[in-house]
Symmetry: C2
């Protein structure tokens, strides 16, 4: 398994070749996932230590599910597995960017291609849908699994 | 100023036209910012309530700086202002995606175009730089302002 390096200096973290990720107080690091071809942002999530190691090792996106409080191999339920084309880490190594290809071409539990299917107009006003139809039927794919959205 | 709507139901939040953002226990919402033309992820940050309102109102990206603990009008120091081409909100409205154009074409305090200038190889191993040179000299732009990176 991948060993993460200790964070010793700003220069090492920002300008070096060591992977020294910074997990927050809850042991999590934020992740943004984009479609490797279109550049569209598909989702934002978090990884814990194990999810990051497994993503590097297997080439498939693993996250930590805060609603279910467990390691989450994306696509294990839905089949919408994310194959990692490229993984990047940011300057201070407290954020991860995954460029992925998705089996089935969709990512969002609501059924849309991207989780970001609504635009916020400049100046405010009602949200504008940017996808006109769902890529899959969430009931068919997830059945009666609890909806992860929390109010 | 934009008024955010109360979160009343999963259906309203996921399928409706109300902007009802969910801020975390610290009053923050994560933001991913991409180049509107190339789709490249430039940075990840957070907004508080004011930063989100001001971003919607002015069309320029405002964040909350956790290192400085204050509202942060991106580019106020560096001149690298981010003009918002499109703002999106995700399914459960706990994450924001900004598509921006940047004066000067760079975003990262280290001097690179994107904060994500290093790739993590599949299986592990040393990080690989994806930008070969800096877009600007951070000392010239930021002078002796404290480096925001924390170990």
């Amino acid at each position: 398994m991948q060993n993460f390096k200790p964070r010793l200096s700003v220069e090492q973290v920002e300008e070096g070749h060591d992977l020294s990720p910074k997990f927050d107080a809850n042991g999590l690091i934020p992740v943004v996932t984009t479609d490797a071809d279109s550049g569209e942002v598909l989702m934002m999530g978090v990884m814990n230590d194990d999810a990051l190691r497994l993503s590097i090792e297997t080439g498939e996106a693993h996250y930590y599910s805060r609603s279910r409080q467990c390691l989450w191999h994306k696509g294990a339920t839905s089949g919408l597995v994310q194959t990692i084309v490229e993984m990047r880490i940011d300057d201070d190594q407290d954020a991860v960017w995954l460029r992925v290809r998705i089996a089935g071409g969709a990512s969002c539990h609501v059924g849309y291609r991207s989780c970001f299917y609504r635009a916020v107009p400049r100046g405010g006003g009602p949200l504008v849908f940017t996808e006109s139809e769902k890529a899959f039927d969430p009931i068919e794919v997830y059945g009666d699994a609890p909806n992860p959205t929390r109010l």
